[in-house]
């Protein structure tokens, strides 16, 4: 958009296209375009080359919620519940996160609370091995809440610093599956005051407007505290996180940038905003 000569209709049409194509959605797109138009008018701007900086500022301010740091419990263990729809990258993200904690000298326990999907426990087992974390697993079909419970007991007795709880993917419209998730959260909360200390919603960057519904319903169900935006190494921009930030106040805390154990990074609103317009 920097090549336009002035802030004419073509300029704003092209800006609209950039934002919509990034999955920002119509509501936030109109809002951002509106804000830019207001600044152009108020500050009598004439050079569209300036638009980039203004837009990046606006986007970063929507996404900046203070800190991307994951919460740490006053006393160990810190309990982190990982949730989200099918295939979004939960299990892989837990492997990456476990590795990060391990690098920081923490003792990590992984809970295989996806007791439903074929080879879910085996998959997490490989990540546990790669990350140097311990795995708590029951047989297939076991009660996921029981696995979470056992993992917390194990964390206490073995003095672990962090418990990462993997759950089965579930579509937010499935009431019975959301009830199962609420039960897991209740069991965790009953065992440790203030737990889970983080409830991370893992969201695939290729997701369209359904992402807002995912964030809304998962938050309502289990009190999501942050988003992990995965698969940002693709061409999708994950723009739905703007609506999630603006309407629900939920921060993106981490981004997944690939399938390797090191492909996890803390979220930076500024970097994200810059990438949105590149």
């Amino acid at each position: 958009i920097g090549r336009h000569k002035n802030f004419d209709d073509n300029f704003f049409e092209e800006l609209e296209e950039i934002l919509l194509t990034a999955d920002v959605g119509m509501k936030i797109t109109l809002e951002l375009v509106g804000r830019l138009k207001e600044r152009v008018r108020r500050e009598k701007l004439s050079d569209p080359g300036l638009a980039y900086n203004i837009l990046q500022e606006e986007v970063a301010s929507i996404l900046d919620k203070g800190t991307s740091r994951l919460r740490e419990a006053a006393q160990p263990p810190t309990v982190i519940l990982v949730v989200g729809v099918n295939g979004s990258g939960k299990t892989t993200t837990i492997g990456k996160l476990a590795y990060q904690y391990k690098l920081g000298g923490k003792k990590v326990i992984l809970a295989a609370a996806d007791t439903f999907r074929a080879a879910a426990g085996e998959q997490l087992g490989v990540w546990a091995q790669r990350a140097g974390a311990e795995l708590i697993r029951h047989q297939e079909g076991a009660d996921p809440a029981a696995v979470a419970f056992d993992a917390i007991q194990a964390a206490r007795s073995r003095r672990a610093d962090v418990v990462l709880i993997d759950t089965a993917g579930r579509l937010q419209s499935k009431v019975n599956l959301m009830e199962e998730l609420k039960k897991i959260q209740r069991v965790i909360a009953r065992e440790i005051q203030e737990a889970p200390h983080e409830v991370l919603l893992v969201l695939d960057a290729t997701t369209g407007q359904n992402g807002l519904s995912q964030a809304r319903i998962f938050r309502e169900a289990v009190g999501v505290t942050g988003i992990v935006l995965t698969k940002l190494d693709g061409t999708a921009k994950g723009g739905v996180v703007l609506a999630i930030g603006a309407e629900l106040g939920l921060p993106v805390k981490l981004v997944g940038l690939g399938e390797k154990i090191t492909d996890l990074r803390e979220f930076s609103p500024q970097d994200y905003a810059a990438a949105l317009f590149s």
Binding site: E17, L20, T21, A22, D23, G25, M26, V85, N86, G87, S88, G89, F116, R117, A118, A119, E122, Q123, G125, V126, W127, L171, Q172, S173, K174, D204, T206, T207, G208, Q209, N210, G211, S213, K231, D233, G234, T235, A236, G239, V240, E259
Partner: protein, 292 residues
């Protein structure tokens, strides 16, 4: 709903008898919004809206319909026509085995859908063989073996140290020797911009000449569907699409995008996690869902 919004739009207009340009332009604004909300690609929406506009202006409003309903009828028919109307049955080889190659982005549902297809084919009297050609994802082979085991469908694997093209080739040979008449090759999820991994798919294709190359696409995919579909189609020449996770509440606009961009038929839809959750694709149903 779109119907309600259009109704409100038309309250303001005088148009009766024939649809005027003003009527149609106002209605199309709402339709464009609905399609974008449903994740249909920006450019696909533009082309589609232009098409509807030329069809709608000057059209007689049927006695039984309001102008709003008349426009919706046109949109619904255009959407249905766009998404349907082509070979949505599986292509079988004249000499077995038929080879079906499953491709797509990470996490879209390929492995689960491969098993669903195996179950579908078994019930149709075929003897499918599942081939575990994902050697990267932790426990991917195990996942397919567990699913195959639950269905009584054999799973061919050479472990995770043999390259996928060789695995696929050996699977087809194995099928011939064992009288299995369909080979379903499960592959690793990959990005359309990962040159190395896309080249691997081209190698698998070269090794086994699949009769079907099916893009497995998540129904909640947003605007990126256009790039994914375009790239996979350009490099592999897809024969069909399977849209998964339609048991959720995503509108599924990516389906229209993929159809518009590749011209490929949607052959099946995934409507759940169990092996039986595979259904035939009905364009009019998806049209209604996309319109919301």
């Amino acid at each position: 709903s779109l119907a309600e919004r259009l109704q409100a739009t038309f309250q303001k207009l005088r148009g009766r008898g024939k649809l005027s340009e003003a009527d149609v332009t106002a209605a199309l604004r709402e339709i464009r919004l609905a399609l974008l909300e449903a994740d249909v690609n920006f450019k696909v929406v533009k082309d589609f809206v232009d098409k509807v506009k030329s069809r709608a202006i000057g059209q007689e409003v049927l006695q039984s319909l309001t102008p709003a309903q008349q426009v919706i009828k046109i949109v619904y028919e255009e959407l249905t026509a766009l998404m349907g109307g082509s070979q949505s049955k599986l292509i079988f080889a004249s000499h077995p085995p038929t080879v079906i190659l499953m491709v797509g982005l990470q996490g879209s549902g390929k492995t689960t859908t491969a098993a669903k297809l195996a179950r579908f084919l078994t019930r149709q009297g075929h003897r499918p063989l599942l081939a575990a050609a994902d050697i990267y994802r932790p426990a991917a082979i195990k996942q397919l073996q567990v699913l195959g085991g639950q269905l009584g469908v054999p799973v061919f694997s050479l472990g995770d140290e043999v390259k996928p093209p060789a695995i696929a080739g050996a699977a087809v040979e194995h099928a011939r020797s064992q009288g299995r008449d369909v080979v379903i090759v499960d592959t690793a999820g990959r990005l359309h911009i990962d040159a190395e991994m896309m080249a691997e798919l081209a190698e698998i294709k070269h090794a086994v000449s699949p009769h079907e190359i099916l893009l497995v696409l998540d129904a909640m995919t947003g605007q990126d569907a256009v790039r994914v579909a375009d790239e996979f189609h350009r490099q592999l020449n897809l024969t069909g699409v399977i849209l998964t996770k339609l048991d959720g509440d995503a509108r599924g606009g990516a389906a229209l995008t993929v159809r518009a961009v590749t011209g490929c038929p949607i052959k099946f839809i995934g409507v759940g996690e169990k092996a039986g959750a595979l259904e035939a694709f009905h364009p009019e149903r998806l049209a209604a869902r996309i319109l919301g």
